[in-house]
Amino acid sequence: MFAIEAIGISKSYRFKKQEVKALHDINLQILQSELFGLIGPDGSGKTSLIRILNTLLLADSGTGSVDGLDIVKDFEAIRRRVGYMPGRFSLYTDLTVEENLQFFASVFNTTIKENYSLIKSIYQQIEPFKHRRAGQLSGGMKQKLALSCALIHRPSVLFLDEPTTGVDAVSRKEFWDMLKELQANEITILVSTPYMDEAAICDRVALIQDGSLFKVDKPTQIVDDFTPKLFGIRTKEMFRLIEDLKSWNSVHSCFAFGDSCHVIFKDLNNEVAACKTYLMAKQHQDIEIFQIKAGIEDCFMYLMKKSA
């Protein structure tokens, strides 16, 4: 049995007589205790898919299950056993930290004490502020409280919708460390994110764009499946380098990547020498060209360009 399954799920929204396709024929199988990442930019369909799977939204077609329960027929049973942290902070800002947690515990007929062990390592970090109103918390603290509230009834499946969006690099790392810990408690986690670098931490990921999944696999496998030769190129002037490479007809794609450009050539022999000659003719200085291994973001952009 899969912890989460989607079979041919499609969804459209009507917007002033205009139909907007949000999801197109989504098929997905997530294993028990898996940390599964749904990776894609804003507007790619991540939230729609999460809300269909956790029974808050009806699909136009297709079926699905959570913990073996049907997402339409058994919606009540599913709601009792899943935890959900929406993208927008949705706790009660006028209640204190502790009151929020108590409220969610009582809604699920349990107590903080009963499941304290599960949330301990997360909740402890905000416990010194338990009498502060939720609305008065910093972003990182709100996030920890929201996660504690989503966990207080010991769910078997956890849905996290962009928990790290707008969060700084340090807090993002801490948050993922917490998710890794939760996995040990046999909780299945479906987490969405627009940050490609977070994919590497997941057991498996689905890359989503324009409502379609274009790849579902282990992050290491996605990287291994990347077939084109990829080069990192650096010169003294980044902006001119991008412009010159883009206007060269031997270049298939060129994207800025930190302090270098990542480039795929169109059937070019002896790439390094040929490219060096080209860049020297364009008066570039301190030219460095080296073959590199693709990351998830390289793969995403390559697949995105291919499917467009």
Partner: protein
């Protein structure tokens, strides 16, 4: 020859009651520079930007922005800079062109100038067919590119960009940065915040704020070498971890 600074900051401080949000920061930004202003959530970045853009009065210290004192000439600063943020940038219920006309009008451009500029922007962004559609029906990445172009509609010498690329897809995010680099190439000065550490590398210089103070300032290469690491993410993590102001 003295350098041409568009931002000069000396011991700039902002206190809210007993809490010092920005703690005596000093730095300069040169003309035509892409300056990355980094820091963890709660480090004091937003407060600093508000002071520099004339929206908040400092508690002490000085800052000059495009030659005007932030304490005495805030209105002059507001009129002459560009500003774009992730959250508030365009009116969703106005069309692409209406947004351009609105912002052009706010900054005192004449109709004929607005029309010429509008055509130019629509051409560059490949939005000629979207001229009369509502901004809310544009994909996020297009919106952000449009918002940036509108923020420099009145040719400001300096633009503040507050997390302009959050959530934008990886290809559009890079197209956005090419617009930024192009503007810098034309001499515009850009002051940018971001949570994407690869974007920090595209800046000429970056500063990293921790607990209200600027803990590091230099070119990305200098900072990487100083800390003995290979990327900006590692620079940022090692500095931001020193924060004792973990929770506000």
């Amino acid at each position: 020859m003295p350098e041409n600074y568009l931002i000069e900051v000396n011991n700039l401080t902002k206190r809210f009651g007993a809490f010092t949000a920005v703690d005596s920061i000093s730095f300069n930004v040169r003309q035509g520079e892409i300056f990355g202003f980094l820091g963890a959530n709660g480090a004091g970045k937003t407060t600093a930007i508000k002071m520099l853009s004339g929206l908040l009065t400092p508690s002490s210290g000085d800052a000059k922005v495009i030659g005007f004192d932030v304490k005495t000439h805030a209105e002059k600063i507001k009129k002459n800079i560009g500003y774009m943020s992730q959250r508030f940038s365009l009116y969703e219920d106005l069309t692409v062109f209406e947004n351009m006309r609105f912002y052009g009008g706010i900054y005192g451009l004449r109709s004929i100038e607005i029309n010429t500029k509008a055509e130019e922007i629509l051409n560059v962004l490949n939005l000629l067919n979207e001229r009369n559609i509502l901004v809310k029906s544009l994909p996020l990445g297009w919106k952000q590119k449009l918002a940036f172009s509108i923020s420099i509609l009145h040719n400001p010498p300096l633009v503040f960009l507050d997390e302009p690329t959050g959530g934008v897809d990886p290809i559009t995010r890079r197209e956005f940065w090419e617009l930024i680099m192009e503007a810098a190439n034309r001499g515009t000065t850009l002051f940018v915040t971001t949570h994407y550490m690869d974007e920090a590398e595209y800046c000429n210089r970056v500063s990293i704020m921790v607990d209200g103070k600027i803990e590091a300032l230099g070119t990305p290469l200098e900072l990487r070498q100083q800390m003995g690491v290979t990327n900006m993410e590692a620079v940022f993590l090692s500095l931001a971890r020193k924060s004792s102001r973990s929770e506000l």
